[in-house]
């Protein structure tokens, strides 16, 4: 069971990592093309910044999931000393369950937001396209983080060491 969960998280991380890196690359290419177009060829790409915003949003929110996967979130750890060290393992499991609950809450509200956007037919500025396919990253990132926290609570061995705890 633990090995299946580990494989699932590994595949999820691999997928999110490459989509995030590709989106990040796209931001740089779009913005630089706009500057070069304007300064060298006399005409920028009018939709480039908007497209770059969407790509950066995807990269940044996938970054939230990847931070969860790699223990990269900022967390003041000074409060940990309030409890005995022996409580670390059960406290971490409780913490992961609470984090999963908060992420589920945000994912549900995020999904409602996307459904409303779909029903209202919201469209982007500068790029005439439906917004919901981009907005879907909002519930996705919280849903993906929720899944991870649940797995960490169930299998503490899979929980990453925190990198940025302060």
């Amino acid at each position: 069971m633990q090995r299946t969960a580990e494989r699932l998280l590994g595949a999820l991380k691999g997928f999110e990592k490459w989509v995030a890196i590709a989106s990040f690359g796209a931001v740089a290419v779009l913005l630089f093309s706009d500057v070069v177009g304007r300064e060298i060829f006399g005409q920028g790409i009018f939709w480039a910044q908007r497209a770059a915003v969407y790509c950066a949003t995807v990269a940044g929110l996938l970054g939230f999931s990847l931070c969860t996967a790699m223990g990269g979130h900022l967390r003041p750890s000074s409060f940990d000393k309030l409890l005995p060290t022996a409580w670390n393992l059960p406290m971490n499991r409780v913490a992961d369950l609470i984090s999963a609950g908060v992420c589920l809450f945000l994912a549900i509200y995020g999904a409602n937001f996307v459904v409303n956007s779909f029903q209202l037919g919201e469209r982007g500025q500068a790029i005439d396209m439906a917004l919901w396919p981009v907005q879907i990253i909002l519930p996705y990132c919280f849903g993906s983080a929720m899944l991870r926290y649940l797995v960490f609570a169930a299998f503490p061995a899979l929980r990453p060491a925190e990198q940025e705890a302060a």
Partner: protein
Amino acid sequence: MNAVALLAIVLGLLVLRQNVILTVAVATAFVHVAMAKKSAVEFLIQDMWFAIDREVLLSIPMFLLSGAVMTRGAIASRLIDIMKVLTKPVPGGLGLSCVLSCATFAAISGSSVVTMLAVGTIMYPALIKAGYDKRLSLGAIASAGTLGIIIPPSIPLLLYGITTETSVSTLFLAGFGPGLLLTLFMGGWMLATNRGGKTQAWNGAEIMAALRRGIWAMLMPVILLGGIYTGFFTPTESAVVALVYAIAVESFIHREMKPKDYVDVTLDTVKMLGAILPLLAIASSLNNILDFEGVPKQMVATLTQTFGTGWGIMIGINVLLLIVGCLMDTFSAILLFAPLLLPLAQAAGYDAIHFGIIMIVNLEIGYLTPPVGLNIIIASIAFKVSFGEMVKAVLPFIALMLAALVVIVAVPQLSLFLTR
């Protein structure tokens, strides 16, 4: 009553080991539901989307990535080589070159930790080898690293500009004077504490060789800041130009980075962005609802009644920011406190640009103060010294920075002379 409940929720979540993003998210949802009139959780999600759906935010990931590329590549080491050969005839020259290297690297990087690590990993062994006191060396590296967030370009100044709708390019200009003052104070301290140090004569051939090797790195601040102030590109576009320039120099001139290094630095940057962007979005919703409820106005009224004079308020704000800097990371502190404190500062007669600089210098000191001083935490890991040793090492530098802060608060022209 609700305020007490809010405080209990925040403290409870921190004790229950929740990260900053989820803690702020729950607190903001509570404010929307229990404390605000005519609001609901739906507004939190809406505000989050509108906060991140803005072009001006694009500069943050690009500056983060260009800083990461420059650190992994050879740009940082070549800048340091130039500073080393130029300061050889000065007693304590290597210590001075450490501060100057941080100041120069700060002009191409917008981050404190990036600046400290980029310069520190090269300078720390060199300072120890040259016989510099270990504690002084550690203090200089950790403290001069903080110049990264005051000398433009600066990610915290960008965030302040975005959060308070203040001109980012004017904020960048305003950062020069205080950045130079802090460099002067720290550099002066390094010279004063190493008066009897060995010196070497300038060697023309060595200087020329260092300049030749480092010319591409030296051109970077010229392109970056020159581009912004000649109107070729906006601060947002300057970030992508910096990134493309750094990649081009590292790939085709220095040739020290492999394709895998680019993947690694991008992934690191995505992670960093993942820790900042959702927080920025949620904090933006909190600011919106507090503003809608008239909280900043109430704060201004209460504090002006209590303190009366402009100086009283400004001293209170500085003390608050120094405490906040001890307890919170810079990004969260700016997002949560800048919109709340700016009206107070303006009521006390302070300019929004000048106040931005004051806020960033306060939070810059926070990088060196326990328990969450990021520079001392990361330096203790990177240089393998105890946290307590790092705290002792930065103490004289904190005193210097506090003295500089007093000057920066008292002399607005220091920040504003380039902006007028």
